[in-house]
């Protein structure tokens, strides 16, 4: 298990390096000069060139990549070309908002999805199962940004129950401002998880060890909890691990619609401004988080399933 974890960790580091190198390459292939964007329309060509040199943009690409990783090893993500602030300050200021948003979205959608998936599997073939199936597929097919727009229009504009914009202040303010964005992002995951758990449970319910448990006279509740759900939930855990990347993508739209601070909105605006240091710093951190989430989900699955552990 420890060897497996080490192996996965090294692989994760490699993935981050490849991702950042590819991104650096892409940023330099696309047109758009950060110095020009920073200095505005009236800067002289000489001043633009001076700024490019000061930013290291006159260096060959491999040198820029090596310099970037060299700085990372020193804990320095660079400097924002517009405000002159440390990129690490900017990224770590925005990151908690997105992480909390994603964590809350996963938490509520996974909890509800597992409950609904179980319920559907246990009542497979009934009208309720059919209804839940339709609702699940319905929620899966609605993009997060559409849900976000309607959530704002209904709950903030028409009903005036919840705030429409911002991240709020204090614990209560923050929690209240999270409701609509987390709802918009999480709703389609309820459907995903429910369908996944249902299918997985139906498969496990017919497994020999479950039949054996029944023959021993164990209660149905205990069989479901201990012998079925523990196995049936594994595909959902894997799905959620890999789904963190999708949740980051969904967070981009939702942060814009709700005018929330966050890493997604930061990356979008920085790409538009060709603010390379911020783009690279933000993508480095998000890539690391996504890779870490995948790693954690694999380890959780391994912990839940002895067969997986033995196979490592």
């Amino acid at each position: 298990m420890i060897y497996y974890a080490m192996q996965r960790f090294l692989l994760s580091v490699l993935i981050v390096i490849v991702a950042i190198s590819a991104l650096t390459l892409m940023l330099h292939v696309v047109p758009g000069d950060p110095a020009t964007m920073m200095l505005g329309a009236r800067a002289t060509p000489e001043l633009i060139e001076q700024t490019r040199v000061a930013m290291g943009l006159d260096q060959p690409l491999p040198v820029q990549i090596v310099t970037f990783f060299g700085r990372i090893l020193q804990g320095n993500l660079g400097t924002d070309v517009f405000t002159g602030r440390d990129v690490s300050d900017i990224v770590f200021e925005q990151l908690p908002y997105t992480l909390v948003l994603i964590a809350v979205s996963i938490l509520w959608s996974a909890t509800l999805g597992i409950v609904l998936g179980c319920y559907s599997a246990l009542r497979a073939g009934t009208w309720l199962d059919t209804l839940l199936g339709i609702l699940s597929v319905g929620t899966i097919s609605i993009p997060a940004f559409v849900m976000a727009l309607y959530a704002v229009l209904i709950f903030a504009v028409s009903l005036d129950w919840l705030p429409a914009i911002g991240a709020g202040q204090g614990f209560f303010g923050g929690a209240v401002h999270l409701i609509l964005p987390a709802f918009a992002i999480g709703i389609s995951w309820v459907g995903y998880v429910a369908r996944m758990v249902r299918a997985s449970m139906l498969e496990v319910m017919g497994a020999p060890h479950v039949r054996m448990a029944r023959s021993f006279g164990l209660t149905e509740a205990r069989i479901v909890r201990v012998y079925i759900l523990k196995i049936a939930v594994q595909p959902a855990v894997t799905l959620l691990g890999t789904g963190v990347a999708h949740l980051f993508s969904a967070a981009v739209f939702v942060e814009v619609i709700f005018a929330r601070p966050g890493i997604g909105a930061l990356i979008v605006s920085s790409v538009n401004e060709r603010n390379y240091p911020v783009v690279l710093g933000a993508v480095l951190v998000t890539t690391a988080i996504i890779v870490l989430a995948t790693l954690v989900s694999d380890l959780v699955v391994a912990l839940l399933d002895p067969r997986q552990r033995e196979a490592l």
Binding site: T36, V176, V256, A259
Partner: protein, 532 residues
């Protein structure tokens, strides 16, 4: 005592049914009451509005973009400021008097007793000199706002003379009342920066009605009253500016009660006019920005003036504006918007175009180009819509086109020589420049020096350049306006431009608010009053 007893009895009798009934009633009550307005109620004297981007430059000598200047207007003072209302004019702010002594000398006298924050003392003529000269001394990207500024001569504690190398009319319309005209403390800036250079996002001192109390990047800017301010008291204790790069988001935020003032999109205007949010005033203002279709004169496919004129005449501007701006913007007659000196009542080419003339020019050009011409446009709906209509209109006379949509970072360096050879392949480009309230600001991008920088049409005309210089120095307003009208005529005659629109700038705000707005609808925040 009795009351306590009753409660106690009720608690004792609380069973499952009672609990469910109570919970249901509570939920029903919660559902029907406007929680948003109760729990997140705005404080009495906090003005909340949106900005299309977060602040990123607070040093007036190095300012960029209007959203930074909106904040600077609050935290620094300046000698003169724009008047609110429907006509462009200026009025005194920290100057007690100011006058143009001759073509190159402007004498000013500061009001006495104006204080900097943080114990930096009184604002003096020495601070004015330092504030104005540092843009040039430190080679600021916006030093051109000062034009031929030579120096500021201090003649007394509160008095001085701004000395220009040659006459420069935009000093009254751009330099003094806008970004670079803000006054900072010499001592405070030198303490903070050593050399008096750019202090970026950390103002060492405030001289305006407000101070920057808090900046939470991508969340809000919070401005509170400046205790050292001795001028007229501002209307609100606090101003909170929320960055929202999508104006539609700002509209929804306003509707939900999260903002008191916001700009609105032209696409939403008709709907808001018909069904405005509660207690809301909607007002429409003309914008100064200008939108045009440019043609790259150095591209081999566009060498023939007849072809360019065919394109000019094939374009029906009214159709484009109606479709892309939902009929809420007016066609443009040139670069210079109504209300500014040099605005033209009519363009040489009719707004509706003329298909017969277009066909005749095309025939004179030897027929349509063999390869489709490219139209470069930004990747937003309004631009793609315009590009598609232009494509259809040019198609009517047989000119094939292809639309290239680009993100802002890529688009805004398209015609720059410093960005490689992309400018060589650029043919037609759908462009929009924002504008400050002086015609010089519009024509300055199209002089020969700007070819390959911001002059993407690569239009170079010695007469135009000469007129541009002449207009900078012309002190007679009528003669100056005539020069700018002549210059727009030259641009149009080159066949490189089809002027499309100046867009529009509608705003909405709470009825109880009394906003102070520039003639183009942009806010002058320290002068907002009323209640929210």
């Amino acid at each position: 005592m009795t009351k306590t007893k009753t409660v106690s009895m009720a608690s004792a009798a609380l069973g499952r049914r009672t609990f469910l009934k109570g919970a249901a009633s509570t939920c029903l009550f919660a559902a029907t009451m406007p929680l948003g307005s109760r729990i997140w109620a705005q404080s009495g004297q906090t003005l909340r509005l949106s900005a299309y981007a977060d602040i990123d430059a607070l040093d007036p000598a190095f300012y960029q973009n209007g959203y930074n200047v909106d904040v600077m207007n609050c935290i620094y003072t300046k000698l003169i400021r724009y008047k609110e209302g429907r006509e462009w004019d200026w009025e005194l702010e920290s100057a007690e008097e100011i006058e143009q002594v001759d073509d190159t000398h402007i004498r000013f006298k500061l009001k006495q007793g104006l204080q900097f924050s943080g114990g930096y003392g009184e604002i003096t003529a020495e601070d004015v000199k330092f504030s104005f000269e540092r843009a040039i001394l430190h080679d600021s990207p916006v030093k051109s706002d000062w034009g031929p500024l030579d120096h500021v001569e201090v003649t007394g504690r509160y008095e001085g003379v701004i000395v220009l190398k040659e006459p420069f009319q935009p000093i009254w319309t751009i330099a003094l009342p806008y970004g670079t005209g803000h006054i900072v403390s010499k001592k405070a800036v030198l303490d903070a920066t050593d050399d008096g250079g750019n202090f970026g996002m950390t103002p060492p001192v405030f001289s305006g009605a407000y101070v920057l109390a808090e900046w939470k990047p991508n969340q809000y800017v919070r401005l509170t009253r400046n205790p050292a301010w001795t001028g007229p008291a501002p209307g609100f204790d606090e101003i909170r500016i929320l960055p929202m790069d999508d104006t539609k988001t700002a509209e929804r935020a306003y509707e939900a009660g999260g903002l008191d003032f916001t700009q609105i999109t032209l696409s939403s205007l008709a709907q808001y006019r018909q069904d405005p949010p509660a207690n809301t005033t909607i007002k429409e203002y003309p914008s100064l920005s200008y939108v045009w279709l440019g043609m790259n004169l150095d591209n081999p496919a566009l060498q023939d003036k007849n072809l360019r004129q065919a394109i000019q005449y094939a374009i029906n501007v009214k159709q484009i504006v109606d479709a892309a701006y939902f009929g809420e913007a007016e066609p443009a007659t040139g670069l210079i918007a109504p209300g500014l000196p040099g605005h033209r009542d009519h363009s040489a080419i009719p707004v509706e175009g003329d298909l017969d003339k277009a066909r005749a020019f095309l025939e004179a050009a030897g027929g349509p180009p063999s390869q489709p011409l490219t139209i470069d446009a930004l990747n937003a709906t309004v631009w793609t819509t315009m590009a598609q209509i232009i494509q259809a209109q040019l198609g009517q006379v047989g000119i094939p086109t292809q639309i290239n949509v680009q993100d802002s970072g890529s688009f805004w360096t398209l015609g720059m020589e410093s960005e490689g050879d992309r400018w060589k392949n650029m043919q037609l480009v759908l462009n929009r420049f924002s504008m400050l309230p002086d015609p010089y600001y519009a024509t300055s991008w199209f002089v020969s020096d700007q070819v390959g920088v911001w002059n993407w049409e690569r239009f170079s005309n010695p007469e135009f350049d000469k007129l541009h210089e002449q207009a900078l120095r012309e002190t007679d307003p009528d003669k100056r306006a005539a020069l700018y009208r002549q210059m727009q005529g030259i641009m149009e005659q080159s066949g490189a431009y089809r002027f499309l629109t100046h867009e529009g700038n509608p705003v909405m705000y709470r009825d109880s608010l009394e906003p102070a707005l520039r003639p183009d609808g942009l806010p002058l925040l320290p002068r907002f009053s009323g209640s929210v």
